[in-house]
């Protein structure tokens, strides 16, 4: 039995004539300790998929099984790193992490909790900024706080929803390494949602493209057989890497073209001409 299983998931928003099926027929199974990446275009329903897995929303049809049990609501066993950090701006770095730790380990004393907070803040190398508010931090630092917050709860599975999407390329690379480092320590099950194929290949064991929505569904999976720890510069010359990368991009391009050719809707531009400002004031 797989660690996380999605069976025939359908998700529809709206009702009656307005109903849009965002996800249809999603089947996915992730083994324990595996690092899986799902790549897809923006707006293809990636966040909906993540929210289904972490329990924020429920599927219209089908079931999500976590360790054989249907997912009902959120759980501390699945830590989430959101796309837009979602730190509480009125709390400091330490307080943001502390809030999560306190909920996860309600029985521990305040001193123990503080130790956990310090340990995880140090792990993302933010100790100098521990008493700062999110507003005083850069985008990369904020996302590191979000990483610390999610991991400090010691979840059995980490779900990352485009965690590095809003960062610049350099910070992105650094954080990829950091996340991999932390993940490598205890190899928790991880699910990464991203729009960057290279990021997926660099980080994951398995890549699954999401065919864009509406009616998004998962495409064929690609195994990444590159040994860890991976090196970014070396990987560029790796034949395996190039092949997988090209295959995935080709696949995504093809479904993009397919979608374009399928589009039957014609868009007629309205007949408009610029306003005649000169005559208006005569």
């Amino acid at each position: 039995m797989a660690y996380l299983e999605l069976n025939n998931i359908h998700k529809t928003y709206g009702q009656g004539d307005n109903a849009t099926e965002v996800l249809s027929n999603i089947n996915l199974s992730i083994e324990e300790g595996e690092f899986v990446a799902i790549v897809g275009f923006t707006g293809s329903g990636k966040t909906t998929l993540v929210n289904l897995i972490n329990g924020l929303i429920e599927p219209t049809k089908g079931e999500v099984l976590f360790k054989g049990q249907p997912v009902q609501g959120t759980s501390h066993e699945r830590g989430v790193i959101f796309q837009n950090y979602s730190l509480l701006p009125w709390l400091t770095v330490a307080q943001n992490v502390f809030m999560a730790v306190k909920e996860a380990f309600p029985k521990k004393s305040k001193k123990e909790l503080n130790e956990i907070v310090e340990q995880y803040v140090e792990m993302v190398s933010l100790t100098p900024a521990i008493n700062k508010r999110p507003k005083e931090l850069s985008g990369g630092m904020r996302q590191r706080v979000a990483v610390a917050r999610a991991l400090a709860m010691k979840p059995e599975m980490i779900i990352m929803d485009e965690p590095l999407g809003a960062l610049d390329a350099l910070t992105r690379g650094n954080l990829q390494d950091e996340i991999l480092n932390i993940w490598g320590k205890d190899r928790r099950t991880a699910l990464l949602i991203t729009n960057d194929v290279d990021e997926g290949i660099y980080m994951a064991d398995r890549i699954i493209p999401l065919r864009p929505g509406p009616n998004a569904t998962l495409g064929p999976e690609f195994k990444i057989d590159i040994e860890r720890p991976r090196d970014k510069t070396e990987m560029n010359d790796n034949a395996n890497f190039k092949e997988t990368r090209n295959a995935i991009i080709e696949y995504l391009m093809d479904i993009g073209d397919e979608r374009k050719s399928q589009a039957k809707q014609e868009f007629v531009l309205p007949e408009l001409s610029p306003k005649d400002f000169v005559n208006q004031f005569k």
Partner: protein, 368 residues
């Protein structure tokens, strides 16, 4: 990074950033831009104040002349040329009995201001003397279980200002205690929201006068046995009820429109409802709640005058009304003095709220 509190930061925090230009002027180190900045922030407002006073002076003078002409014409028509001459001479002599009654000039207002202060000092001295005189007697009365004798003379202008401030703060506190908790409940529960909506929509636009009458009807009956002066109670309750709506609506809106990301965080961390309200919902709606409270305080100060006037509560409102009824030579000038005092206190109250808001809310633009 070392953080220090400087005078500049404090004034900016309080929304009084324009004061910094004066400081810069004395500390030196001025560039050309600073001079332009100084001109814009200090000299230009000063010039506009002077212009305002000048225009006021000219306007008051022309109104004065019109009124004087009219008085002389009237005397000519009713009583003949001799009476008209007498009237002209009387007006020119500055005799108080025949001065035209119109908009007072700035200098008259200033004179009235000084006379009001003088009046205050006299009354204060009077009060002190009274307290000294009755101290021994009062001690005996209290020992014998009787009420002490209190000063029952006329309140001074400054006493009236403090009475008004007390009324406004009591009313504001009442509004805060009703509107914030109610707003939180309404914002959290869609059921409560729809059951309270009609109530808010109907009572929000009700005028201060009607609120006063409503409160009067109720309080009069409730306090039917007591001999105490109920004007303070009636006026502060009316002020509170009049002004609480902005806070109620803003709190409900702030609570019901918390950023979905924060709600998701609360869900993922599995916060309990108590934790969720106090750790996530309330902090995130604080800026809106404070905007509501700021509006509430300024509305409270605005309706206070009308309500005091109706309730005969001896504050600024009653002062204005009594001066208007009085019709003495300097009554108009005193009304204008009260107008400026009301305006300046309103401005200071607004800054006070802004300072508190900056201190407690997370959305600081330039925190200390």
């Amino acid at each position: 990074m070392k953080q220090s509190i400087t005078l500049g930061k404090v004034t900016k925090f309080m929304g009084l950033g324009f004061l910094n230009t004066f400081k810069d002027l004395f500390t030196g180190k001025l560039e050309k831009e600073d001079y332009i900045n100084f001109l814009r922030k200090s000299v230009v407002p000063l010039a506009s104040i002077l212009l305002f006073i000048g225009l006021w002076h000219l306007g008051a003078k022309s109104l004065y002349n019109t009124e004087a002409e009219f008085k002389i014409e009237k005397a000519l028509k009713d009583q003949g040329p001799e009476a008209a001459e007498a009237m002209r001479a009387c007006i020119a002599s500055g005799d108080t009995s025949c001065q035209p009654n119109t908009l007072p000039s700035p200098s008259q207002v200033w004179t009235s201001y000084k006379s009001l202060l003088k009046d205050h000092r006299i009354i204060k001295a009077d009060k002190l003397a009274f307290a000294e005189k009755t101290a021994a007697l009062n001690e005996k009365r209290v020992a014998a279980g009787k009420d002490a004798i209190t000063y029952t003379g006329r309140p001074s202008f400054v006493d009236q200002i403090f009475r008004s401030l007390r009324t406004v703060f009591a009313g504001f506190l009442l509004a805060l205690l009703i509107a914030v908790p109610l707003g939180i409940f309404i914002g959290l529960s869609p059921t409560l929201k729809s059951s309270f909506n009609w109530f808010i929509q109907i009572f929000k636009p009700v005028s201060p006068v009607v609120w006063y009458l409503l409160v009067f009807m109720i309080v009069k009956t409730l306090l039917i046995d007591s001999n105490e002066d109920s004007s303070f109670t009636i006026s502060f309750i009316s002020v509170g009820l009049c002004s609480m709506w902005a806070t109620l609506v803003n709190t409900a809106m702030g609570v019901s429109s918390v950023d979905k990301d924060y709600i998701n965080v609360a869900k993922v961390l599995k916060l309990g409802s108590f934790q969720k309200i106090f750790k996530v919902v309330l902090p995130s709606s604080l800026p809106l709640i404070f905007t509501g409270l700021k509006i509430t305080l300024s509305v409270a100060w605005m309706v206070l005058i009308a309500i005091e006037l109706l309730a005969q509560s001896p504050g600024l409102g009653l002062f204005v009304w009594e001066e208007f009824q009085n019709g003495a030579n300097d009554s108009n000038a005193k009304i204008i003095v009260a107008m400026f005092v009301i305006g300046i206190i309103g401005f200071l109250l607004d800054r006070l709220m802004l300072t508190i808001q900056n201190a407690v809310s997370f959305d600081k633009t330039d925190a200390i």
